[in-house]
Amino acid sequence: MSIENQAAPTTPAGRTGDGAPANLTHGAGASVTMPPRGPEPQPRGAIIRGNHPIDQQEAARRFMAAPQHLAMHDQRLWDLRQKRDKQKDTIEEWEDLRQLASDIKTHTLTHLDTYLEQFERNAKANGVIVHWAKDADEHNRIAVDILKSKNAKRLIKSKSMLTEECGFREYAGDQGIDVVETDLGERIQQLDDEAPSHVVVPAVHKLRTDVAEVFARTLGSDPNDSDVSYLTEQQREHTRPLILTADAGMTGCNFAVAETGSVVVCTNEGNADLSANTTGLHIVSMGIEKIIPNLNSLAVFVRMLSRSALGSPITQYTSHFRGPRRGAEMHIIIVDNGRTDRLGLEKFWTSLKCIRCGACMNTCPVFRRSGGLSYGATYAGPIGLIIDPTFNRHKYSTLPFSSTMNGSCTNVCPVKINIHEQIADWRQVLAENHEIPAFKKSMMKAAGALLASPRLYRASLPMADSALRHIPRFMLYNRMNTWTRGREMPSVPKETFHQWFKRTRGKDGKKKS
C-alpha cells in the first residue's frame, strides 16, 4: 500500500531527483532504468518514391547502423513485451479473455450493420451528431466543414491512427486549421514533421537527445538539456496555453459501444479528456471496426488493451463519452476507408479485429531492430504487414517479406489474429499477382524445378572432391552472396549424407560391415 502523508508538492515536478519521484517504474514506464545514450543523428525512415515498393531493408540497415538508437529501441520494446508477460501471469483467465475478445470481434464483424445501426441510434438519442465517411477525403472534408461552421481556428487533438491513415493533420493545416497534437509522443512527431513509428508509443525510435534537438528547434528549449523531466515539462508548458485557447477538440476512438452509443478513449496522459472537454466542440474519428456490442464486452477489451500494449493493468485514463456536455456539441465521424473491402477478403478479414495495442510490434524481432518508420506506411510491424497491402498492393508489396514468420506476434495478439499466417498468405497473394520482383519469381521457379528433380538437385550440391567448395546456388537465391555480409559460411563436409549413406549402407540400406 502506498501511503502519502505529506501534502502534494505545489511546484511543478521539475527534473528527476528534484522533487519528482525518480525512477518510476509503474504503468507505462520502463521496468529498468536505461543508460542515457547519444547523441547520435537520428536515422530516418524509409525513402518514399511515389508508388514504388517500399525498400524496408534499406531503411532497416540505416537504423541498425545507429547503435545507440538500435539498442534503446530494442531494449525499450522488449521491456514492454516482458511487462506484458508479467501482467499475463497475474490474470488466471488470460487465455480465456483472449478467446473471448476474439469471439466477440468475430461476432461483431459478422453483424457489423446491426451494431452500427444500434450505435448510431443510441448516439443520436444521446444528442450526438453522426456522420458517415466512405474514405479519407470525405472524413477530412466533414471534419473541416464542422470546424469551419464553428469558425474554429485551433484544434487540439489526441492521438488517432485513423486520422494518421487519413492524412488529416496535413489536410486541416492546408485549410488554415492549427492542429495541435496533445499526446507527448505524437506532439514530438508533429513538431519533427515525422509520422508516428508505433501505434502506442509514437516516438519510441527517438533518443532523448533527438527530442531535445526537436524541442530546441521548435519550442526554444535548451538544446543541451536532454533530461526527460525537463523535456516533458517543456511540452506541458508550451501545450497548455494552446489547449486553453483552442476552439475545438478531436479524439480517436478505441471502442464504440453499440448498447449505449458511447465512444471510449484510452490514454495515459489524460489528453483525450482535455481535448474533448475543454472546448465547446468534440469531434470523434471512428473506424467502423471499432464497434463492440455492449459494456460487458468492453470490460474484456479494457482488461486486455493496456496489459498487452504497455504491461500496465489499465491506461491512466479510460474515458467514456456518451453524449455532449451541456452547451457543447459532439460529432462522430464513422469512417470506412477500405475496411469494408477488407471485410470481404476471405483470408484477411480477421485483421479488422485489431485493437491497435502494438503488442505485435513490441515482440517482433524485426520491428525492434528496424524501427517503425522503416516500413514507410501508416501501420508498421506485423499488423502493418497484413493491413498495408489492402491500402496499396503495389507500394506495400514488399512488406510481408519483412518478417521471419516466427509467430510470436500471433501469440501476443489479444484478439488472436493469426498474424504470421496472414503474412504467409499475403506472400502467396502477392506472388500470384505478380507483385514480387521478377528475379525472385524466376529464382523460385528455378529452385522449384531443381528440387523436384533428384538428379538436378544432386548435381547442384558441392562435390566432395571439388576444389571450390561453395554453398549450393539454390540456397543463396541470388547471384550476390548476401549471406557472408554478416555471417560466415558453413564449412562443407567431405561428403553429403546421401554419399555417406550410399557408401556405408548401399542401396539396400543395410549396414556394410
Binding site: 500500500m1 505545489t10 519528482a20 468475430t106 514530438i188 516516438a203
Partner: protein, 206 residues
C-alpha cells in the same frame, strides 16, 4: 457524395462482404471467483502501483485530514459537499455552469468518485461528480473521496454499474496523468494532474 449516400454505401458494402460465419454472441462471465476479500487493501495496493496514493487521515476524521491537505496550498476547487467553497481560504466551489477554462489556475481539485475498482486501482468520475469535467485534469493535483463500501472487485463488475448508462461522461482515472513516451522514462503530469490521492470516506448522510 453526401454523408447519407456514404452511409448507404457503407452498409451495402458491409452486407455484400459479410464473412461467411455465423458465430453466436459470447457470454462474458464475471471472473470473480477468486476476487480479493479485502477490496480496500487490494484497491490501495493497485492504486500505489499505478502511481497514485492513499491519503492517510492518521487518526483524524477524514474530512479534517482533507482540510489539512488543502490548507495553504494555493487555489483549491471543490466539487464535494464535505469541503465548502470559502474565498478566505482560496477554496472555490465548482458549479456546473462554470467555464471549463476557469479551472486552469487551480492547484488542487477535490472530487468524489462514483466507485472504485480493486483490480486496477481506478476511480470512476462522472460529469455529475465533477460538475465541470475539466476538474479532473486542469488542476495540478487531484484528491478523490471514495466510499470504501463502493469498491467493486474487477472491471467486469465495474461495467455492470449504472453510471455508463446514465452519464454523458465517465472516466476511470487511475493514478495521475503519466507519460513514458521518451525512452520509457515515466513522468507524472504529462498533461493532466501531477498527483492523485484517494481519501476513503463515506458520503455525508443526507
Amino acid at each position: 457524395m453526401s454523408s447519407t449516400d456514404s452511409r448507404a454505401a457503407i452498409f451495402a458494402a458491409i452486407r455484400a462482404n459479410r464473412p461467411n460465419v455465423q458465430p453466436p454472441q459470447p457470454d462474458v462471465p464475471l471472473f470473480d471467483t477468486k476476487a480479493p476479500t479485502d477490496l480496500v487493501a487490494a484497491f490501495s495496493d493497485m492504486l500505489g502501483k499505478m502511481g497514485g496514493s492513499v491519503l492517510d487521515p492518521q487518526g483524524q476524521y477524514p474530512i479534517n485530514a482533507l482540510r489539512a491537505a488543502v490548507a495553504n496550498k494555493g487555489i483549491i476547487a471543490t466539487a464535494v459537499p464535505e469541503l465548502h467553497g470559502d474565498p478566505s481560504l482560496q477554496i472555490r466551489q465548482v458549479l456546473p455552469d462554470m467555464d471549463p477554462h476557469s479551472l486552469a489556475n487551480v492547484e488542487i481539485g477535490v472530487v468524489r468518485a462514483a466507485f472504485g475498482v480493486a483490480e486496477t486501482g481506478s476511480v470512476c468520475l462522472t460529469d455529475t461528480e465533477l460538475q465541470v469535467n475539466t476538474l479532473g485534469y486542469l488542476p495540478q493535483h487531484l484528491i478523490v473521496l471514495l466510499d470504501p463500501a463502493r469498491i467493486v472487485p474487477n472491471l467486469h463488475h465495474a461495467y455492470r454499474q449504472p453510471e455508463f448508462h446514465e452519464h454523458n461522461y465517465a472516466v476511470f482515472q487511475t493514478g495521475p496523468s503519466a507519460t513514458a513516451d521518451i525512452e520509457g522514462v515515466l513522468i507524472h503530469g504529462a498533461q493532466g494532474v501531477r498527483s492523485l490521492r484517494v481519501l476513503f470516506c463515506a458520503p455525508q448522510a443526507g
